[in-house]
Symmetry: C2
Subunit: 712 residues, 2 copies
């Protein structure tokens, strides 16, 4: 049995690959965050170790650490792991294609040859003596389907084919090839080699046996020296294979190296194998082989190459799906990220996904508009969403309010703010959504003294919510419920987006910066000096007209109580079904535009197809102030309206009055229908004429349409 190899052609057990799931996760992350659509070869590092079990071969393994680092910190932690005896590094490249078609279309023979050529070159350049692992160079091709979390891949371990093939003179367990002194010395030398961090992961080495049976392991670059001093030299290598009659794959290129680099024709080799972490000479093999290269072994004539790994005996790639083993939330997050990142790679390199992910959005109203805005925000990658609504889901809601289903209406109905959050989490569990059940206090709805404290509590709560969020959407269905939020947003200088529906027309607009915001902007030195800003407020009310207006700036009337005595049809928000999704989509696009604009909330109004925007146009497109659309005309236009000096919500008089008097001011506005009009001079103005600024970007448009956008 021990002699069974004699004279026969030497056959090698193929390398077996193994890929840790972490590798695929890391690859996915790398692709999403760094590589994107780049298909260039990625340098990766495989790991292997000598066989360590009598019945199991060791695999060549890819781990998360096999891939290049995404960041510098990560890189340094990889470096620290060098010298690991169970992870001998093997250089390799990964070709990750962008499509399954190009994966299959890869010219595998050429790729294999190209890698083998590197090995061949390294043999002649002397690189092998510096780093033997280059003899193990391998190649992986892959297609990562990040939508389905499945990975198609194929390993190639290029092996230079000796021609004629190597023949075995003999092949025996190492134990049978040495005296017991030699064997003991060999074991000790091996264990020492494997335990020193400077040699532990060096897979090719020389075993020299001196005449006194003392065995030494040396670096292969010392071969000439050993040959010169007449020691017996055995070519050792870490053999991943466990088979008793076959050496493993690494021996192939080793022999080619020995043959072509050193011109040796008959050599001894030592297949080093371990058991329980120590050299096992019963498992390890020693063989004698005759090797030659008919082409004469010169650099020009590279031998043939083999090496594509078989999959269950067939020449087909492997495929692994990780979807089932992954946490659904994590899958959902990565899938959602993928879509957004693809958008960035493909057309919007400047898309700032990071800012979208951290922007805190406050939605006032969780009805038709609120539901759809929340969905749109999630689709844009916004993760922090708070919905405020005092209502319950009623039977007529689910058909138009896209976060609710019939179940939410039963037994009196869930609170919308609660049901909406549940629904958002069912869609995307990683969303950080919160619901606040609260009515928005409204001006002109006078309150009794008993109600006063609860109304004030709501006012303060709303104020806190607005201060703790970055972008506020006004999506309620009455005009007057937008007044307090408009005022608070103007005071806090928050990004504010209004969407309002008529029967078949809509208005979507971003509010201009508040009066204090404008001042802060023009006088940066007062940024941290609010009171200084406030003093200036009343002095600079003429600045109002340079700011963009808020929802109330277009009005010459102050918000009044429009809910009382509304007829049945007015109580139901009657709009053409198509309006809300359109207005909601535009509202969110507008917010995304503000977040991406270098001037942010202070960005001036831009118009469609206007030359004005030429040089300032952002990758996302123009950033208008107002968009009005009509479903009956299938038309849409962009407009600008500047801040009114007697706006009941955002003019400097009102804002500074609020900042000075706080809740007292709000109570007065709530209780006295004409208070705001008197304060702002609107009452006076209405006596004279209704003059407010409205620039249309389309001169052919009639002003008649102006009333289209009515409140229901």
């Amino acid at each position: 049995m021990a002699d069974s190899g004699k004279g026969r052609i030497l056959q090698f057990a193929p390398f077996q690959s193994s890929v840790d799931e972490g590798f695929w996760h890391k690859l996915s992350s790398l692709k999403l965050n760094k590589l994107r659509l780049d298909e260039s070869p990625i340098p990766i590092t495989g790991f292997y170790a000598p066989c360590s079990h009598p019945q199991v071969s060791n695999h060549l393994t890819l781990l998360a650490e096999s891939l290049p680092a995404e960041s510098d910190e990560e890189q340094s932690s990889l470096l620290a792991s060098q010298g690991n005896r169970n992870r001998c590094p093997v250089p390799s490249i990964l070709l990750n294609t962008n499509t399954l078609e190009s994966f299959y279309a890869l010219d595998k023979q050429s790729l294999l040859k190209a890698e083998a050529k590197k090995v061949w070159d390294d043999i002649y350049s002397g690189k092998v003596e510096e780093d033997g692992s280059v003899l193990l160079r391998f190649l992986v091709i892959s297609f990562a389907d990040l939508k389905k979390w499945s990975f198609h891949y194929w390993f190639a371990f290029p092996a230079l084919v000796l021609d004629p093939p190597a023949t075995l003179v003999n092949l025996k367990p190492a134990l049978q090839c040495f005296t017991s002194e030699e064997a003991e010395s060999l074991s000790r030398a091996c264990n020492e080699w494997r335990s020193k961090s400077s040699t532990a992961d060096i897979p090719f080495f020389l075993v020299t046996i001196s005449s006194n049976s003392s065995v030494t392991l040396r670096n292969i670059r010392e071969l000439e020296a050993c040959q010169n001093n007449g020691q017996k030299v055995i070519f050792g290598f870490y053999d991943p294979c466990h088979l008793p009659n076959n050496p493993g794959w690494p021996l192939r290129n080793y022999l080619a190296y020995i043959c072509s680099r050193w011109g040796l024709g008959k050599i001894h080799f030592f297949c080093y194998r371990e058991n329980r972490g120590f050299a096992d000479l019963g498992l390890s093999l020693v063989g004698e082989a005759e090797i030659s290269l008919s082409q004469g072994g010169n650099h020009e004539n590279m031998p043939n190459v083999v090496g594509w790994e078989l999959n269950k005996g067939k020449k087909v790639p492997r495929c692994i799906s990780l979807a089932k083993s992954m946490d659904p939330t994590r899958l959902a997050v990565s899938a959602a990220d993928l879509n957004l990142k693809l958008m960035r790679w493909r057309t919007l390199p400047s898309l700032n996904l990071e800012i979208l992910a951290v922007t805190k959005c406050l939605l006032l109203g969780a009805g038709t508009l609120g539901c759809q805005v929340a969905r749109m925000l999630m689709a844009w990658g916004v993760r922090k969403i708070t919905l405020v609504d005092s209502g319950k889901v009623s039977m007529s809601n689910p058909i138009r309010q896209s976060l609710y289903a019939l179940d939410d209406c039963l037994n009196g109905g869930k609170f919308k703010a609660v049901a909406a959050v549940e629904s958002l989490k069912r869609i995307f569990p990683a969303v950080e959504a919160e619901g606040v059940v609260m009515a928005i206090p409204m001006p002109g709805h006078s309150v009794s003294s008993q109600e006063e404290s609860s109304i004030l509590q709501d006012c303060r709560h709303l104020c806190d919510l607005i201060n703790s969020h970055d972008a506020i959407f006004l999506l309620t269905d009455t005009r007057e419920s937008r007044w307090l939020p408009s005022l608070l947003c103007a005071s806090a200088n928050k990004i504010t987006i209004t969407a309002a529906l008529g029967f078949d027309s809509f208005l979507v607009m971003r509010h201009g910066a508040g009066p204090a915001g404008s001042i802060q902007n023009s006088q940066p030195e007062t940024l941290n000096n609010v009171s200084a800003g406030m003093v200036n407020l009343s002095l600079s009310s003429q600045n109002d007209s340079q700011r963009l207006g808020c929802y109330f700036c277009n009005d010459v009337v102050a918000p009044i109580d429009s809910t009382a005595n509304r007829t049945l049809d007015q109580q139901c928000t009657v709009t053409r079904p198509g309006l809300a999704p359109i207005a909601s989509a535009l509202a969110v696009e507008l917010m995304v535009g503000v977040l991406h604009h270098p001037s942010g909330i202070n960005a001036k109004a831009e118009f469609a197809n206007s030359n004005d925007n030429g040089c300032t146009e952002q990758p996302l497109g123009i950033l208008p102030h107002q968009i009005r659309g009509s479903l009956s005309q299938f038309s849409q236009m962009t407009l600008v309206g500047h801040a009114s000096t007697c706006c009941t919500a955002c003019c400097s008089t009102v804002v500074s009055e609020y900042l000075t008097k706080g809740m007292d001011f709000i109570l007065q506005a709530i209780n006295h229908p004409t208070y705001l009009e008197d304060l702002t001079g609107l009452t006076e103005l209405m006596k004279s004429a209704g003059s407010y600024t409205l620039d249309w970007d389309n001169d052919s448009e009639n002003d008649d349409n102006d009333d289209d956008c009515v409140e229901i």
Copy 2:
């Protein structure tokens, strides 16, 4: 005890009201379908009967039949129910307000007086003799909250107050007031009166007792005759009250009638009560009362009136909520209907909800567009929706595809067609939604002979689906998957709507009528003669250019296989999140427009704000051919593109070839990429020049934008 009433003021047990749930359901239906926002008084009929149980008074009841009929058939069934002894009809009016505020604001005293005035007038006009029930006239005010299915209401039973009040001479069980012969005769007469359909529901009558103890019941109009022949006369009435010492409410106006009409000062009355369906003289009362009217009982001086019903002793209205007792599905249906009907009442009287409810919509694709289109259709009242998709819900879908949640993605994902239907039913259980898991066969994707039969089966299935639906939406995400549906729709002349998304622009269009459709339209005599139409097809290909184009008419290239070798980013449909909701909304609005247009599928293209449409404009607005929009420009425009004579999907050559060769033709188109181009002469055309008709409604627009709307 029997004499306990002697000399005291006569007191009456108030009428008690009772409303059957059916009444509210019928009122809701009537309001939605007929009355709408009309607040005029509704004539209704209350029902009552004599007390029929010793311990329980009978109520005045409103049933579904109390309300006027919605249709003529219903009316006749109501007439058939006259003469029911347990449902003596009482005329009344219902004032149903549109708001809770106006309900409370009603001037109840005036209303009560106005009804009493009718009674008073009827007394003097002699109407009472014709129909005594007018003495029981009553009044109901209500507010029906159809959103919450709660009903606020208040009954008034106007009673003319005698001044001075009537006083009782005595009041005894009837049994004690008659001889046994008289009693027996009275019982017999009463039972006879109550069993004859001509008298059973006449609540006021005369009891006359002849000297031979024979008792007769007579109509009150016979009073004079009875008085003249000296018979003893007792004024009888159906008494709903069971109390032993009080007559019921109907006696009040009866006494006022007797006093003012007949000038009688001292009368006998008979409170007729039953037990187990027969006269019960032990329960019935006979009393003697003194009555007078100080004002002299002339028509000008109407007495005071009382009568608003108390609610648990208080002067407040009642409220009943039916939501909890109703089947959720029914509630959902009625709530959805309400919204649509309100839309019709308020602004679109010509809105044809009936046609929307029966239109069968076929959605090809249940992705971002398909989900949103299905939602929009439901919101418009479309109830028959079929979704076709071969895909499964993947992790990246829920965040953009509004019918799916994370649960649908687990374990490999549900089929979209299945999950979408489940979701639609959760939103609105009455929707008739079906899902078909099937891929759309595509041209240029050549198939092996094994696949052929399954592809042909899909083609036939698609053909059947298109034929069995009324409107087809093309919502897939590749150009070539739209080809076969476009052809089949053109052949079957179906309403066809395409929505296609680019990265930040969209195209929504309705396809023109098919070539056969145009011919049928212009030559109505061939309507039932398909082959005649077909013969004409090739002759009339010049007609193509007058038809509106289909999705492929704008192309100079035939659809090719664009899915092979798509890069990762192209496989994911990368669009700005706002696009799909906007395009979906417009697609559905377009279909609703076609359904409402008198020319339907043949309607010519209309433009926004164009004078051309002036006289033909529909209530829903204009009906454009194509709408293209850009999110980066926040712009939208309407366009027209006429049918191309070499369109690969809808030209007469292609359609007639398909109608002649059927599936063979389709197989050729699928297998041979250039077949369609060769057939239509497109190949030739491309050699010369790319000329196709595209009329822009906005001259200032650059043609550059034309490529915006690309397929991903």
